[in-house]
Subunit: 321 residues, 2 copies
């Protein structure tokens, strides 16, 4: 079993690599090779049994993935992407990285007859938009209101068509908002969603820029990684007629998040959250759908977190490791 991860130096790429090495197998086969590709040299988690290689490549360069695909990997995780704000700031960059490079990857598989290579891509809740129903389901239209979501939705269509034509074996997972991310607050509009839990648990102050009634559709990093692994193992036939769907996140309000913080770490921790409404952030985040029926993902065996409490406890446990 040879696995490739594009975006292998990123948040999910590194966690996925570590998890795959800890498992040692995928699809019932021992992992022999793991190739991490990123524009920055990806750190290689150590392994005694697996040949782990990091390749510094810009996937927008013509033929960038040629030698990687020549090795005929059985599983390709395509996680390289520029994020929402970068794709909005630079249309060409977003189109090249998020769309054209995905198309080149599909063509690379097609040209080499990698019909049975499972290609797993991460799409996003940002692909939804427009006049959405109160509860979204697997047949809700993608009418993205940002370029990142547009590019992700176009990739979904293309991966589905190449898979339908038997040119590759694709599977696209739409990821909920991921909490609790480790690290520091960043420029992302969703940054506060991790921050209002992470910082107080670390004894630091956090700012909550939105109303406590605001709801989010969330998943823990661990469950996202589990879903990526399951995405390699679910049988291709089961993925028809459309190979992209939302993962089973859970719907939580900011009030519930703060309540869980207090339950877990007391009034002292809660007091570290300052409420400073930011209408700009509120407007962006409020436009993201927060309620989904995720029947397809569940029928395919994808599982989400049991509760917000579990998510927070998992973060605390991981941090103390």
């Amino acid at each position: 079993m040879h696995i490739v991860i594009t975006g292998g130096a990123g948040f999910l790429g590194q966690r996925l690599a570590t998890r795959l090495l800890a498992r040692g197998e995928l699809r019932g086969e021992a992992i022999q090779r793991l190739t991490l590709v990123d524009q920055v040299e990806p750190p290689c988690p150590p392994s005694d049994t697996v040949d782990v290689a990091g390749r510094a490549l810009d996937i927008t360069e013509p033929g960038a993935l040629d030698t990687v695909l020549d090795a005929r990997p059985q599983v390709v995780y395509h996680l390289a992407a520029v994020v929402s704000s970068a794709a909005e700031a630079d249309l060409d960059l977003g189109m090249e990285v998020n769309f054209d490079a995905t198309r080149a990857l599909l063509e690379g598989c097609r040209g080499r007859g990698l019909a049975n290579t499972r290609l797993i891509m991460a799409s996003s809740v940002a692909a939804y938009g427009g006049e959405l129903p109160a509860v979204l389901d697997d047949m809700t239209a993608l009418q993205p209101q940002n370029s990142y979501g547009t590019q992700k939705a176009m990739c979904e269509l293309l991966i589905n068509d190449y898979s339908r034509r038997g040119l590759v074996d694709g599977c696209v997972l739409r990821l909920p908002t991921i909490i609790v991310r480790p690290g520091r607050p960043n420029a992302a509009a969703s940054s506060f969603a991790s921050s209002i839990l992470r910082e107080p648990l670390n004894g630091e102050e956090a700012i909550c820029p939105v109303a406590t009634s605001l709801q989010l559709f969330v998943m823990s990093p661990a469950k996202v990684i589990e879903a990526l692994i399951h995405g390699a193992e679910v049988p291709g036939e089961a993925l028809a007629p459309f190979r992209a769907f939302m993962l089973p996140g859970i719907t939580v309000s900011v009030a519930e998040m703060l309540d869980t913080l207090r339950q877990v770490a007391g009034d002292e921790a809660l007091a570290r959250v300052r409420h400073e409404p930011d209408p700009r952030i509120e407007a962006i985040v409020a436009s993201w759908p927060a309620r989904f029926e995720t029947r397809r993902a569940e029928a395919l065996g994808f599982a989400g977190d049991r509760s917000l409490h579990d998510i927070v406890m998992a973060f605390i446990e991981e941090r103390s490791r």
Copy 2:
């Protein structure tokens, strides 16, 4: 007012050109120039007042539309496309004509600052697929099960994003099945839908390859042309948040079509339809959705046919002109 029509030699392109010249104005402005672009030299309908030009161009050639766009047209109808069967037979051809050329057209508008140029594209019922509800609406997902529909759906997303960014002023109309097309039966799976009316009305035999209970979502050529004209006139602000939607067709069964034929032309005409079930055609056509709620199109002022009877009478009237 300068108008460009790509696919100007095609069925809809030629009718649209004739109709525009008969009107003489669009968006309240007198039409001065009309440029028809097609890979085959488009016939130019005569006009005393409008400068009508036909250009033989392959829109997949780099820069093919440069001189056309340099003239800064106010309205571009983008109707050039390869049809469903051709796009299915040749993935590269379909991607180049149906997707890449649309993207190049968008880039051409962007590069010239044609932010106010209204770009009208024709999408299709073939963009729908998968596990569809009994009645589709404006928020039903596009999960195409053919490459043509995939390419159309990708164009919808891209035109919406370029419009949202203020780079062009796009509007995409999803067309129902068009009946009654003049001419001869062809290889299209939907060919029978026109044939079972047209041939008997012309005193000829027709073959009905599907069950009479089968339903279709249809629109007359005249109403499609009216919709294309309205698509140039509807205000851009009204098109947000998503600039692609289904036109208001009507749902008809094959039994109703045959019944209308009998009402209009008697038992003799009806007797010219031979029933020869073709499971291959039945399977394709039965997968096309036949029931839609088209609220957005109606709210935007797009109108469909009043009845199947009207559609058939309009065909008879046009034929006798």
